[in-house]
Subunit: 329 residues, 2 copies
């Protein structure tokens, strides 16, 4: 997993003008709102997130030659939904650090994060309803609903070594990949592609999102905290069962299984346990195995856009796939 | 303020069939969802809430002779939005008791309340988007956005004796009255009344909602905990400045002002302070003054439906006004 700091900049290049316009929309929607809403939103949106979801909406519209401006507002809606879920996630996970900065719940408090999240969520729907297209509203309402259900499902993954690969894929499909999928579908819907192509774009985003989340879960064990911008080992500390744990637990011998049961199920952890966890994962080549699974989803995603027009936008979407799997943050 | 336990039952009578149908919609939307989602939602929805907001949607449609079924799904959407805000409110306020039962955050935990709230909120938008009417979506998205902003604004009312009557009215208009207003407007919009009548119905709900919240804030000082179904004195304990405090503080002498500054601004409270607070409020007839203000909004609400058809549904809406101001819970 090599670091290529240029790749994200390259990906952003083709959508940078539209991202700036989106920032204008976000700024306008927040103007005259409570100071706390502005502070918290800018704190999180302005902290150098990857912005992959709005980029996907923008590129998925431009891929099919769309030249209007609806995708700008819809990219802002997607970014609002994503930001709202981040705010609530950080409260639920008790996170202190995101993108190298203190989380909003840490810098302000839980209640501000909850309420500003609600505000951003409702602003997303206001933006969408002003866009006047029921199909778009249905795509994104469904996404919001699936995400929320995925977050609830994820609660069952805490301290639960019975979680299967299939449960895990259900959870990450819902909590992460669905919004990637909806972001792509919305872009192609704005460009008035046919239903089949919209479904292909949905599936492109879904497979991309699954690969992206698998890498995210691997990075939580194996990234440098500096590059990742958040603390590593958070999932471990919390006893959250993700792909690395599912794989390593399946391969572990009896005494190792006892170790996992203590640190994950009982969530009783000593100072050296994280190191020990990494050591066992290394023994069974868990990182490699996770990357192979992620690679598989990347291939599936590539196949989904086989029939899309061949142009530089398509290349950019393929670059996003590569970035998602080779990233170090 | 006499208790009339029959009045709410009387009000519900005309909408009871539609409320049952709404329950069917809610049940169907929750079927096959995570068990936690079902448990928490039924815990809160099934705990004997007043259901005034969905009743308002139902009656506001029937008032104008609507005979279709769209208002059922929209009433469910309104109830979902309301339930989501209750779940998040209870986390923000650290409440332990609602409707005579432990709050969800108390019985389960904060994270479950946050995530199930998000789920219900997104389900509301899914229901609305399936209703296929952009005007309805705009009314309720705007309401959701105003509510969230009102909740954020309300944070500034904590321990803040500089809060003015105008600030207070802004906050309760947003956090409570807007959804009453939107509930009524949606009902009349479904019945295809003209824009002027829809606006009148909005204003009816808005004034009703303001009166309702004023009484709520009075009851938090002066109700019996048993009838109210939640702990009294919560606002006082939290240092939340509401109408009774704004009025009593304006009338207090220098030594009483010092008392309010200690218990509210510094939020340093002894065992007998709540009793003392009630004593000072009694001295300045605060309850009577609050009721007069609430009465004023009830009169405004009545005027808003002057031009609505004269029928038993209208009488039921007038009964809701009376109930809102004479209620003991």
């Amino acid at each position: 997993m090599l670091v290529n700091p240029k790749s994200l900049a390259n990906i952003k290049y083709l959508s940078s003008k539209d991202l700036s316009l989106m920032d204008g929309v976000i700024k306008k929607r927040l103007a005259k709102k409570e100071q706390l809403v502005q502070e918290i939103t800018y704190h999180i949106i302005g902290s150098g997130g990857k912005r992959l979801r709005p980029i996907l909406t923008i590129l998925s519209a431009k891929l099919f030659g769309y030249e209007g401006s609806r995708h700008i507002n819809l990219a802002a809606a997607v970014e609002f939904i994503h930001t709202a879920t981040l705010l609530h996630d950080d409260v639920v996970d008790h996170s202190d650090l995101r993108r190298g900065k203190p989380t909003a719940n840490h810098r302000w408090d839980n209640k501000s994060s909850i309420l500003v999240g609600d505000f951003l969520f409702s602003q997303a729907f206001l933006l969408m309803s002003e866009d006047n297209d029921l199909k778009i509203l249905q795509i994104l309402s469904k996404a919001a609903s699936v995400i929320a259900e995925g977050e609830v499902k994820q609660l069952s993954s805490i301290e639960n070594l019975d979680l299967t690969m299939s449960d895990y894929l259900d959870i990450i499909s819902a909590k992460t990949a669905e919004l990637f999928a909806a972001s792509c579908m919305v872009g192609s819907a704005v460009a008035k592609t046919d239903d089949e192509m919209q479904l292909s774009m949905f599936n492109f985003g879904l497979n991309l999102g699954i690969a992206f989340q698998i890498i995210d879960d691997v990075l939580d064990y194996m990234a440098s905290s500096l590059a990742l911008g958040k603390a590593i080992g958070d999932d471990f500390k919390e006893g959250k069962v993700t792909l690395p744990i599912i794989i390593v637990y399946g391969l572990s011998d009896a005494s190792e299984k006892k170790f996992w049961q203590r640190v994950i199920c009982v969530n009783e952890q000593n100072e050296d346990d994280f190191k020990q966890a990494l050591k066992i994962m290394d023994k069974y080549a868990v990182r490699k195995k996770c990357l192979e699974i992620a690679d598989d989803y990347v291939s599936k995603a590539k196949n989904c856009i086989n029939n899309a027009p061949e142009n530089k936008i398509k290349q950019s979407l393929l670059d996003i796939l590569d970035f998602s799997i080779s990233r170090s943050f």
